[in-house]
């Protein structure tokens, strides 16, 4: 199909991976401190906990737990994806690896519950010539 032949690019590089296999879920790009073991998202050079420069960029699994949620009653700014034309969920997600992130959620408000497990997936935000501009969002597992 034409859709799977299009090139997928991230809305901004360095925040999540786009696997070659379209069936594979994205990983979240973060940082691990080699001295104290803390994980961070987004990636950073210096550990925010112990200030060490001994850090490594890592790919974190897109698995987490819902810490909070809301539902925005406006279309997602900059998106041409009809799924978000009427509004979209937003969540605070605690990744299993530790960092807390804020991302769109898939679903209607009454489907969200604090504490529920979530998985990350890629979604098309809009098109840019031959490219599909991709974002990460979380879906109840």
């Amino acid at each position: 199909m034409a859709a799977s032949a299009r090139n997928r690019v991230p809305i901004k590089p360095g925040f999540f991976t786009i696997p070659d296999d379209p069936n594979e879920p994205p990983k979240i790009i973060g940082t691990r401190c080699n001295d104290c073991g803390e994980h961070f998202y987004p990636r950073r050079a210096i550990c925010a906990k112990c200030m060490s420069e001994n850090t490594t960029e890592v790919q974190l699994e897109g698995h987490g737990t819902l810490y909070s949620y809301t539902f925005v009653h406006f279309p997602l700014f900059g998106s041409t994806n009809v799924e978000v034309a009427e509004g979209y969920g937003v969540g605070q997600i605690d990744l299993d690896a530790g960092p807390r992130m804020q991302m769109p959620l898939v679903g209607k408000q009454d489907e969200f519950e604090i504490g529920q497990p979530l998985v990350a997936e890629l979604a098309r935000m809009r098109e840019d010539g031959d490219n599909d501009v991709m974002i990460v969002r979380f879906r109840p597992a």
């Binding site: 901004k12 925010a48 909070s68 949620y69 925005v72 997602l76 700014f77 900059g78 937003v90 990460v136």
Partner: protein
């Protein structure tokens, strides 16, 4: 902070003014502040100018509207806390002994915010509506405590009704705003409706700062309003820290900044007679009741239901209408809080007057984030 006083204050009412320039609004607010102080522009030794969205050099250009005296002009920007940070620099300049009379002037036209003017988001954070980040606080609070949407609506209604008593407020409702009217307004990001949120607007505000003995000399007819504490802090790391989004940082930042001010001033939360906070959304004010120490953790809802924070209550919050009613152009907001607190401590707040007001606290946040707290006291 030693021997710093507010000599005069002035404002340009916040609102939508497509035909007014920053120069117009700032000049009027500044001239009003000078007149209030009993001073002329030539008496000003230094100027700190705060603005977020006006282009580079705007601050210097605005100062030229008053005259070209060669005084030092320094722009300050700290997101929503710009006006407070500007005021803080003016206070530090006087406290250091470097300058005798310092103008702190803030202005902004908020229609320049990206999203209103089109364009594409730079990364995911910019695409998500800012209100969503605050709505997330509300949902979490409802999960952890006994908060309901009615509590949020009570705060918003209080602030809108206070704004009706303030001639400088952007929103001055002509009818009493009820909880139902707040809940029935358009939903932005659940549970926040438009009436629980600050409006978009333009405006200007100014404070002239100098030593207390100068204040007494210039205006012996009225009480001196001293600045007895000032602090500014940024975020400290804790597990679960959110690094992205225009959020105003962890609650701990408000606790730490206000604690430093209470220690500096030698007062406690129980000594504060009125409070202005960063109530961009009603959920924020609710959290700040606790974070500033005016009620114990978990008790905000009971205090709201008791009317503790209304005009005439135990400790009124947002006496001028807060960000929700009075408005929130980023540059001047913090200075509008100083304007209100100064008038209250002088006994000049008219229908909004807090009886016997002696000590006021001003709390602001800047996205990114920073927290700025000031304590003002009569005498």
């Amino acid at each position: 902070m030693e021997d710093v006083a507010v000599l005069g204050v002035g404002m340009y009412r916040f609102g939508m003014y497509p035909d007014l320039t920053n120069e117009d609004m700032a000049r009027i607010a500044g001239m009003q502040a000078l007149a209030d102080a009993g001073l002329a522009f030539k008496d000003v030794d230094a100027a700190y100018v705060g603005h977020i969205f006006a282009q580079v050099m705007s601050g210097v250009r605005v100062m030229k509207e008053f005259g070209l005296t060669g005084l030092p002009v320094q722009r300050i920007e700290n997101a929503s806390a710009t006006g407070s940070a500007t005021f803080r620099e003016a206070c530090l300049a006087v406290a250091s002994g470097r300058h005798d009379v310092v103008m702190a002037l803030g202005f902004d036209k908020m229609t320049a915010i990206a999203g209103l003017s089109g364009g594409s988001p730079d990364g995911m954070e910019d695409a998500i509506l800012p209100a969503a980040f605050f709505a997330l606080w509300a949902t979490r609070r409802m999960h952890e405590r006994s908060m309901t949407v009615e509590h949020l609506a009570k705060i918003a209604a209080k602030n809108l009704n206070n704004g009706a008593l303030n001639p400088m407020s952007q929103r001055q409702p002509t009818e009493k705003i009820t909880v139902e009217k707040v809940l029935g307004a358009r939903m932005i990001s659940w549970p926040l409706t438009t009436r629980m949120s600050c409006p978009i607007g333009d405006g200007a505000a100014c404070a002239i700062v100098g030593r207390a003995d100068l204040a007494k000399k210039l205006r012996p007819d009225r009480p001196v309003v001293r600045v007895i504490a000032s602090d500014l802090q940024s975020e400290k790391y804790a597990p679960g820290h959110l690094f992205q989004g225009p959020v105003v940082g962890p609650g701990q930042m408000t606790v730490d900044t206000s604690k430093k001010c209470y220690e500096e001033a030698g007062v406690g939360p129980e000594d504060i007679d009125l409070v202005q906070v960063h109530d961009a959304f009603a959920i924020e004010e609710l959290e700040y009741y606790e974070l500033l120490g005016m009620c114990k953790p978990g008790e905000a809802e009971a205090c709201i239901d008791r009317g503790d924070f209304e005009l005439g209550g135990r400790v009124p919050f947002s006496t001028d209408g807060g960000l929700i009613a009075r408005g929130h152009p980023g540059g001047p907001t913090g200075l509008a809080q100083i304007w209100e607190t100064t008038l209250q401590l002088r006994g000049e707040a008219g229908k909004r007057q807090v009886e016997g007001a002696r000590t006021g606290l001003c709390h602001m946040m800047g996205g990114g984030s920073v927290c700025a707290v000031h304590i003002l006291q009569r005498g």
